[in-house]
């Protein structure tokens, strides 16, 4: 397998790695860099556990190959607090006891932070539609939705304080 250098920004730090072009981002993070906060539970983009931000948007790291991240800005759950909403979202999800086993949590939180960063006005139906790509097997989703609504309110409260 031929390797080639790929350069990208990861959690604000420039990186260059020698990897095969088809190496998946999920593998780069978890196995090459030992950054295991993002999880892999299906490997085909159907569960959302591996969600990271690529150029500001949530993507499934298991679907993204090394050649696609050349020059990209990647934020994994380890670096998510680059966004100011992360602290608020995490606090709300924690207080609501939104998760159980927690394996899906990094993906859900990443999607929610991205949503509320861009659309703090997101209502219930928008929140639910945005979470359609994330599977949770433990909770039945209601605790996640309660936490997400609390997070949205807290983000709005924070923004109104600032403005």
């Amino acid at each position: 397998m031929s390797c080639a250098p790929v350069s990208f920004s990861l959690n604000g730090v420039e990186r260059t790695l020698d990897v095969a072009a088809e190496t998946r981002l999920s593998e780069i993070l978890r196995d090459l860099l030992s950054l295991t906060a993002s999880k892999v539970a299906c490997g085909v983009g159907r569960c959302g556990a591996c969600t990271v931000l690529m150029n500001g948007k949530p993507v499934n790291a298991c679907l993204v190959m090394a050649w696609q991240i050349e020059g990209a800005d990647i934020v994994s759950p380890e670096g998510l607090d680059i966004l100011p909403e992360t602290r608020i979202v995490r606090q709300a999800m924690t207080e609501e006891n939104a998760f159980q086993c927690g394996y899906c949590a990094p993906g859900f939180v990443t999607v929610l932070v991205s949503l509320l960063h861009n659309e703090p006005e997101a209502d219930l139906s928008r929140i639910k539609a945005t979470l359609e790509g994330n599977i949770c097997r433990c909770t039945g989703y209601h605790s996640i939705v309660r936490g997400a609504q609390a997070a949205a309110e807290a983000v709005r409260a924070e923004r109104s304080k600032v403005s």
């Binding site: 690529m54 948007k57 927690g102 359609e132 790509g133 039945g140």
Partner: protein
């Protein structure tokens, strides 16, 4: 694989032409991983179109919208010009894949793949494609392009759609296997122009999945020119049915696709043209709480709502799961699976694999020094196969190598010769004497009978008899963290095996037996783990991990990918259950006959216990004098069955509770009347004649169910004509504990740690259920300290004593009883050591938040903190109290019987779509009576999560197999509920009281949430349409067929 990045269309096409079939264009690349996982050939060259700049934009102008082929789906959908000009397309994009996929996937890629569910939408919008072919741009109608033979060198540069205009209405609906992020069963789209109350031009199309994308020309012609007010919709529906081409696939028949297409098109057109808005099913009125009942939630019980101790590190993503451990020099393990369902194993040659550079160890059965068999009850499952393989997931060898790619390559070098044996894949046929034998002693793993009373005389008394065959699926646990972990030899020679599990001491015992190593030389870590639900109760990857670590002498990690987890892991046993129940004219049950066949798959694991538990719940909480039950468990070459939340009880409850509603309908009684007439009374013997514990709450749960607010919600045909709405209920009666026969003990330790924390040591596992929250709650309650003072130590044989398994809803009792039994002595010793340190009478001291206080003082001041107390004491003087006890059992010895039960009632409000036959759960109310609620958040979570896992079992989930191979190999086709499938609203209630003299404390609720969801939903469907499906997951086609007879 090489990726090239052309900067122009010409360059891209040239590369594609020169490379032929070994190259393919790629844009978002989101379809490739699934394609490759399903056996699609990997090309040598990927031609990245991303650098071809002119292909990315959306331009709305004069009646058209032009979309560049490389525009991502999310950018298309959010474009304002598109939302105005082609709102149907924006809407439809929301039904393609999931949001994160849409951030990468492009519209050109979706079109180029030719089977996307956007194609009918684009056809209805009269899309024209700009195709780059043979060096030039061509403008071609999408329909014409689809009819051409596909050429691999075409590049979809842009798509132009007609803006619909103000005089048009549009319809779009994607019918899938679930409500969102689903493969398409059929997608429909239409644009209809109106002219003075008549249909003018119509463009209607279907497609999606296996349905060829096409315009419905005959249907369009039939509508054109008609007056809308007098449109013959039945005839339009007939035209659609005859015009849609739709093949069968694994999941739905072609006939269903045609009906769903006709139903959705006609209904959507009627609604849009009639100006009828979608009906929103109103929220139910607020609940009226039954006596002593509380509703669980942060808002309702703020004083009892605490952050779970494990929550911050899970939300922050800092918790390291056992599959997250990475260390320098750690090898990567992989397991070679048989891949054939039934064969004699002739030879295994690993020499080539061993010779591959980077391979550190290859293990086969020859490396097993102990007994090559495991299983919680019967040790019939080889750690690595030696003489034959009995299912496709059977492990034959395992490899440890420097990295995953080398390990994978080594697997490919192992030569295994098989001699095929006849396939046994039907449990009923497997039970016949002439069937090929999966195991030497035959395929009848277990056969159980129970006869009581006189069944013939009983049925003679019956005024009404309901006989039905209930068929239930092979549900997958679907824990998000698949099986895996690591193993290594510690410096002192101890073998440390760390993999998600549910009883580490038993895992250790089983490993000891396989490896021929004394138990005390093995350490097993079994949690934290990312979900289990029974699926990590049996050994999974631990034997392979242990063997690889022993042979290589190095640390090895191994993590099954989802497909291997599907292949190898246990599932809920598929069951076929014939139940015949009779009642007299007043609804009194007079006789019941049950015949149950369960598919064990290749090995026993806990399937015998599941069968036994199912039969123990054969009458539910009802009294039937005359019964005859037979249960048979068959070995087959299918995937292995085993423990799964509910453990047979929920399957049996499906049948029992539906029989009750059906008999009620025959008697002209209410679901309430018939249940009340037959309900067991406190103090009666259990179903097997055993003595059962105090605190029975059947009456209370029935009362709570019948006074539910949901019965007063609107039912019947919804105002928009879309759904039939019904309400159904079912009672839960769920045994706790392992029963009389299995060895069942528990215990733990309470001690003061060196850093001043009060440690509770329990050999239970945090699987997500809230064990740690429950531990800190109980210890704080019994000791008097704060929750933050408590540190749970669990999930590791090195760190905590054996507390028994974290299964069968038994953990709550174990931790409660441990806290109850250790706390008084712990407090006595704590006050004694503090008293002597402070020169005070221990009698005057008590434990409070943070430390020791004077019990006579109101100030709350600490005399000494736990931190200072611990620091002042020699380690040997720090209080430590242990306990060990038997799990409470009844005396019954005529079969495995439960002593403790938990009670509940599930009420469901369900909407059944008239167009598609799909059932959607609007409301779920879960009433429970399981003693004191230890931790509100955890209890609520268990009930909600169990209920939605049950909803999946009822409506969506089945692991399909054919010829011993799984057909649903990953989460693209195995449909666990997503956020759109969950009940729209769900409330959980608890009655906490215990009878006087009941000293058994809180009941476990791990299984109570799933106990009666299926029959509640099915009874709601019965209420809605007078038809009780007897097969789960419910078939929309069967429901649709029934509804056709209702008109």
């Amino acid at each position: 694989m090489r990726v090239v990045h052309p900067e122009s269309l010409e360059e891209a096409q040239e590369i594609a032409r020169d490379a032929g079939r070994t190259a393919c264009y790629v844009a978002g690349a989101t379809a490739l991983q699934l394609l490759w996982a399903n056996g699609g050939a990997k090309p040598d060259i990927l031609i990245d179109l991303g650098g071809v700049a002119e292909l990315k934009d959306v331009l709305a102008e004069s009646g058209h919208v032009r979309i560049g082929g490389l525009t991502t789906l999310s950018d298309v959908a959010s474009d304002e010009g598109l939302q105005t000009g082609a709102p149907m397309l924006a809407h439809a994009i929301g039904s393609v894949a999931g949001p994160a996929v849409r951030n990468l996937a492009t519209i050109g890629g979706n079109i180029a793949n030719r089977n996307g569910c956007l194609l009918p939408v684009l056809l209805a919008l009269e899309a024209r494609l700009v195709i780059f072919r043979s060096g030039e741009m061509r403008d071609i109608a999408l329909g014409d392009w689809l009819r051409e033979t596909p050429t691999a060198t075409d590049i979809v540069c842009a798509v132009n759609v007609l803006a619909s205009g103000d005089d048009a209405v549009w319809i779009h609906r994607k019918v899938g296997l679930r409500r969102a992020f689903t493969p398409s069963v059929v997608a429909v789209a239409g644009v209809v122009h109106l002219d003075n109350g008549r249909f003018d031009t119509c463009r209607i199309a279907v497609g999606g999945g296996v349905v060829p994308p096409s315009r419905l020309v005959l249907t369009e012609q039939a509508l054109q020119g008609r007056r809308i007010a007098s449109c013959d919709w039945a005839s339009a529906s007939e035209t659609i049915l005859s015009e849609v081409e739709a093949p069968d696939d694994l999941f739905r028949s072609g006939a269903y696709r045609r009906k769903a297409a006709a139903g959705t098109i006609v209904h959507a057109l009627q609604m849009k043209l009639g100006g009828v808005a979608d009906h929103v099913h109103a929220d139910p009125p607020p609940p009226t709480l039954a006596r002593e009942e509380i509703e669980l939630g942060k808002q309702m019980l703020p004083d009892r709502w605490f952050t779970r101790p494990d929550m911050p590190e899970k939300v922050d993503a800092t918790l390291s799961y056992l599959t997250d451990v990475r260390e320098d020099g750690m090898l990567v393990g992989r397991i070679l699976r048989a891949g054939v369902p039934h064969a004699r194993l002739v030879s295994i040659d690993v020499s080539a694999a061993e010779a591959l550079p980077g391979v550190a160890a290859v293990v086969t059965h020859r490396d097993i020094r102990g007994e090559n068999g495991f299983g919680i009850v019967f040790q019939d499952q080889p750690a690595l196969c030696h003489d034959k393989v009995r299912y496709a997931g059977d492990p034959v060898a395992a490899v440890a190598a420097v990295d995953a790619a080398t390990a994978e390559a080594a697997l490919g070098l192992i030569r295994v010769e098989y001699e095929p044996l006849p396939l046994v894949d039907d449990p009923e046929i497997a039970l016949e004497s002439q069937s090929a034998a999966v195991h030497e002693h035959g395929n009848v793993q277990t056969e159980l009978h129970l006869d009581r009373g006189d069944i013939e005389a009983g049925f003679l008394e019956a005024a009404h008899v309901v006989e039905e065959i209930y068929e239930m699926p092979r549900q997958m646990h679907g824990f998000l963290e698949t099986e895996g972990g690591f193993a290594r030899l510690e410096a002192d020679g101890t073998l440390h095996v760390a993999a998600g599990g549910q009883h580490n001491y038993r895992d250790r015992m089983q490993l000891s037996r396989i490896l021929g190593i004394p138990e005390e030389r093995i350490r097993v870590t079994s949690s934290p783990t990312g979900g289990a639900f029974g699926g990590k109760d049996e050994l999974t990857v631990q034997p392979a991990l242990a063997l690889l670590a022993l042979k290589s002498g190095k640390a090895v990690r191994l993590h099954l990918d989802r497909t291997e987890s599907v292949l190898a892991g246990t599932k809920r046993n598929p069951m076929r259950l014939r139940m015949r129940t009779g009642c007299d004219k007043d609804g009194r049950l007079v006789a019941q006959e049950v015949d149950l066949v369960s598919d064990s798959g290749a090995y026993a694991s806990l399937s015998p216990g599941v069968l036994e538990t199912a039969l123990e719940h054969a009458a539910g909480p009802y009294v039937i004098d005359n019964i005859r039950t037979r249960g048979r468990l068959a070995y087959t070459n299918n995937g292995v069955g085993g423990a799964f939340r509910g453990f047979g009880a929920n399957q049996m409850t499906f049948a029992v509770e539906c029989q009750m509603d059906r008999l009620a309908a025959l008697c002209g009684q209410s679901p309430d009347d018939i249940r009340r007439r037959n309900l067991r009374k406190p103090g009666m013997p259990g179903y097997l004649g055993q003595r059962v514990s105090l605190t029975e709450r059947c009456d209370e749960m029935l009362e709570a169910a019948m006074t539910s607010r949901l019965w007063s919600c609107e039912r019947g045909l919804s105002p928009d004509g879309a759904d039939y709405v019904g309400v159904g209920m079912a009672l839960s009666y769920q045994g706790n504990g392992l029963g009389t026969i299995p060895h069942d003990e528990g215990g733990g330790v309470l001690r003061l740690a060196g850093d001043g924390r009060i440690e509770a040591l329990l050999g239970l596992d945090e699987l997500g259920q809230g064990l740690h929250a429950a531990i800190v709650s109980q210890v704080a309650d019994f000791v008097g300290c704060a929750r933050d003072d408590v540190r749970p130590i669990t999930g590791d044989t090195l760190l905590a004593p054996d507390s028994g398994s974290t299964t069968a809803s038994r953990g709550s009792y174990v931790l409660w009883n441990t806290a109850r039994r250790t706390a008084p002595e712990f407090v006595r010793r704590m006050t004694a050591v503090a008293g002597s340190l402070l020169g005070k009478d221990p009698q005057d001291l008590c434990l409070v938040a943070g430390g020791i206080a004077d019990r006579r003082s109101n100030s709350g001041d600490l005399l000494i903190s736990y931190v200072d107390l611990a620091a002042a004491l020699d380690p040997a003087d720090r209080p430590s109290v242990s306990t060990h006890f038997a799990f409470p059992k009844t005396e019954h010895d005529g079969g495995n019987a439960r002593y403790i039960f938990a009670f509940g009632a599930t009420i469901a409000r369900v909407a059944v779509s008239r167009a598609t036959g799909e059932a959607r759960v609007l409301d779920l109310d879960l009433h429970t009576a399981a003693g004191p609620v230890i931790d509100v958040a955890s209890y609520l979570g268990q009930m909600e999560g169990g209920a939605i896992q049950g909803l999946g079992y009822t409506l969506l989930e089945d692991s399909l197999m054919r010829d011993g191979a799984y057909l649903t190999t990953n989460l693209d086709t195995y449909m666990m509920p997503g956020i759109a499938d969950t009940a729209e609203r769900m409330s959980v209630f608890a009655q906490e009281s215990l009878d006087e003299g009941d000293d058994l404390g809180p009941r476990g609720v791990g299984e109570l949430g799933i106990a009666s969801v299926t029959p509640a939903i099915v009874n709601a469907v019965g209420d809605a349409i007078g038809y009780w499906p007897s097969r789960s997951p419910l078939s929309p086609e069967a429901i649709l067929d029934h509804m056709e007879t209702m008109q």
